[in-house]
């Protein structure tokens, strides 16, 4: 473009020649220049404004576009910060005191049919009958040809069965996920665990609900997802339970007994380390409750926690305790045992004639009914009732089993003097072996009240729960030891463990009235080691007979005691109790604290 100079000399010279004022020319040029400048400035300003406007439009446009997008899309939670969700089973595990699994859930499948989708019902029915021997091919075929839209075939399948049914290739047979409750240890702790069944059943899941035992008692806890899968810890030790069941089963078979029960309890806390009731069942296939016959004969019946029996001479130790607490006797006090003792038209006899008098110690060691009855006459019904109430014989068991709901012992409605005398040697009051174990624990742990429990709960009782004094407890320990050293339970001697205990043989009541002549319930309530008691073992056999000798023997000393001795011999090393050897002369196991 042509440059126009600031001072247009050519134009000025021409203007001078023409006679026009040159200042005009300069003014014209200046005006032209000014105009051009203004235009360019305006253009620049305009372009700046447009640029700015564009920027704002872009900014607001982007915001508006994003808003439009958000308004049009589905609402969704922010997913970049997801907390790890732990997949918890529907039902928590049950474990023993060492963490070994007693009950757990397993994911399996269930099998159902849609008859309307079936391609070949005949082949399907035959195939299923082959895989599952308990299903009938004709019944299945009838169902598959019917108008039903949905049929359950099997509620739990193993993986192998699943594969076999799948291989049939029938689209009308379908599977749904299911969790099943598995008890890996079979019959062990059957009465304690109880068993489960399915509640509401759907295709995608089924509710597992407890039916008995701890599964029913803690159903809410086991199903509560807020526990984050924490297992239920029982006080049971599974190896001890296994050993005890094995020995008890052998003993029951050897003695020809029709039932047996055993309880091992921690003396200081009341925790049940093992509890066996025979006959038992497999909780994986819990049998149906019996509809006829005596319910006490069914394997579902827990003889340790439900069975109420007259416990016999094992009660004499409570009589001795009451006598010592009331201050009417010491271990060396002579008690009248001249028999037979007559009260009205009733006669009380001893097993043998023990002479005219025995010391209190010997009343227990030799197990004299007459001696106990005479002591009871002295201290009276009120003292006896108070002590038995403190020992828990008037209430149902506090143990965590729903079967214990109706375990309140049978006590006489009219507690006459005769009742007092017979209850002193264990006849007239029917209680469970678990009641007896708890009472013996209270007698030998120093005199403090405990309650039987199945949970791993180590709370110790305090002085407020005192039932008998410490001195009385020590004397009772010595008495129980002497019963084994020189009394009716001499077969209970296990080397190294200073076993002490009391035997009890009670005739079984005849439903038609009176008692049977040749059927007994024998009990042995033992405590070991008596130098420092840790555990109470109660063994009870139903109708045992020891017939290895020339004549049949039915007393507890020959039946329940050997079984209990073998149990202690087997489980005390398992629990890590070190055998201690005492010499009666120089280093006796138990020393009398009062004379």
């Amino acid at each position: 473009m042509s440059r126009s100079p600031l001072r247009p000399i050519a134009k000025v010279l021409r203007a001078r020649e023409d006679g026009v004022d040159p200042a005009l020319i300069e003014a014209q040029a200046k005006a032209k220049r000014m105009r051009k400048q203004r235009t360019s400035e305006r253009r620049r300003a305009e372009s700046r404004l447009i640029l700015l406007a564009l920027t704002f439009v872009m900014g607001f446009g982007a915001v508006g576009w994003k808003m439009a997008l958000l308004a049009a899309s589905e609402p969704e939670e922010p997913r970049t910060t997801r907390i790890t969700v732990q997949i918890i089973n529907q039902r928590a595990d049950i474990v023993d005191r060492n963490g070994i699994i007693l009950a757990t859930n397993l994911a399996t499948t269930s099998l159902f049919a849609h008859p309307q989708d079936m391609v070949d019902p005949v082949a399907a029915a035959d195939g299923l009958a082959q895989i599952f021997p308990d299903l009938d091919a004709e019944d299945l075929l009838r169902v598959f040809l019917s108008e039903r839209k949905f049929v359950w075939i099997k509620r739990k399948l193993s993986p192998e069965q699943h594969q076999l049914v799948y291989d049939l290739g029938e689209p009308g047979l379908q599977f749904g996920p299911r969790e099943l409750r598995l008890y890996p240890n079979g019959n062990l702790a059957a009465h304690i665990l109880g068993g489960t069944s399915f509640g509401r059943e759907g295709v995608h899941a089924a509710e597992v609900i407890g039916m008995a035992g701890v599964e029913l008692m803690y159903d809410e806890f086991l199903r509560d997802p807020a526990n984050a899968g924490a297992p239920l810890e029982l006080s049971i030790d599974m190896s001890v339970q296994a050993a005890m069941r094995r020995v008890l089963r052998g003993g029951m078979a050897m003695m020809g007994a029709k039932g047996a029960a055993a309880v091992l309890m921690d003396v200081h806390t009341g925790q049940i380390i093992a509890m066996v009731s025979l006959p038992d069942f497999d909780p994986n296939h819990r049998p149906n409750p019996p509809v006829s016959g005596d319910p006490a004969d069914s394997p579902l019946f827990n003889r340790a926690a439900q069975g109420k029996y007259e416990l016999g001479s094992t009660f004499k130790i409570f009589t001795a305790a009451i006598a010592m607490e009331e201050g009417i006797a010491t271990p060396t006090t002579m008690v009248n045992t001249a028999g037979p003792l007559r009260w009205g038209r009733f006669t009380i006899r001893d097993f043998h004639n023990y002479g005219a008098r025995l010391s209190l110690m010997d009343v227990i060691v030799k197990s004299s009914n007459i001696g106990s009855a005479n002591l009871a006459r002295e201290f009276g019904a009120q003292a006896q009732q108070d002590m038995l109430r403190a020992l828990g014989f008037f209430d149902k068991l506090a143990v965590e089993l729903p079967e214990a709901r109706r375990s309140k012992p049978l006590i006489p409605s009219n507690w006459s003097e005769l009742s007092t005398m017979t209850i002193a040697y264990g006849h007239g009051l029917a209680a469970t072996p678990l009641h007896l174990a708890a009472a013996y624990a209270m007698m030998t742990n120093g005199g403090l009240r405990i309650e039987p429990t199945l949970l791993k709960d180590a709370t110790l009782p305090s002085e407020e729960d005192r039932v008998i004094s410490q001195e009385t407890s020590d004397i009772l320990r010595d008495m129980l030891r002497q019963v084994v050293v020189r009394g009716t339970a001499s077969l209970a001697e296990v080397e190294g463990y200073q076993v002490g205990g009391k035997t009890g043989t009670a005739d079984k009541p005849n439903p038609q009235g009176g008692y049977y002549d040749d059927k007994v319930i024998t009990t042995f309530a033992g405590v070991f080691p008596t130098s420092d008691p840790q555990y109470v073992l109660v063994v009870s056999l139903d109708e045992p007979v020891e017939d290895s000798g020339l004549e049949a023997r039915r007393t507890a000393g020959w039946t329940a005691v050997p079984v209990a001795a073998e149990i202690i011999r087997r489980i005390a090393p398992l629990m890590g109790i070190r055998p201690e050897y005492y010499d009666d002369e120089t280093n006796p196991a138990v020393t009398l604290t009062s004379n």
Binding site: A107, L188, E495, G496, R578
Partner: protein
Amino acid sequence: MRGLLLIFGVGLVIFFATWAYRVNYRTQEAIARVDSLHHQISTERETIAVLRAEWAYLNRPERLLALSEKHFSILRLMPLHPGHFDEISRVAYPEVVPDAAISEDPLLNMLIAAAIAEIQEESE
């Protein structure tokens, strides 16, 4: 100059837009991967539960008892009884002659001899 700046600015915008696009899609992929990992974790947890149940079943007392009886000739396992416990002081120590040289280092030999003498004093 202004034109260059403009081009540079536009270039920056393009760059940032591409970067945001890529980050967006990478995030979506990461979320999908997290989902699939959660699914895998739940499957693994189920497997662990099945294995624990299987382990408990294989370790049940009847089976272990049957196995120990079946292989008795090799294992010779018997139930524990009180006679299996004893005092540690009744375990016999091997006889050691204190003058015997155990190593070539005389200082070490002296230390070992002193230790043996101390143990024998304690056990008496």
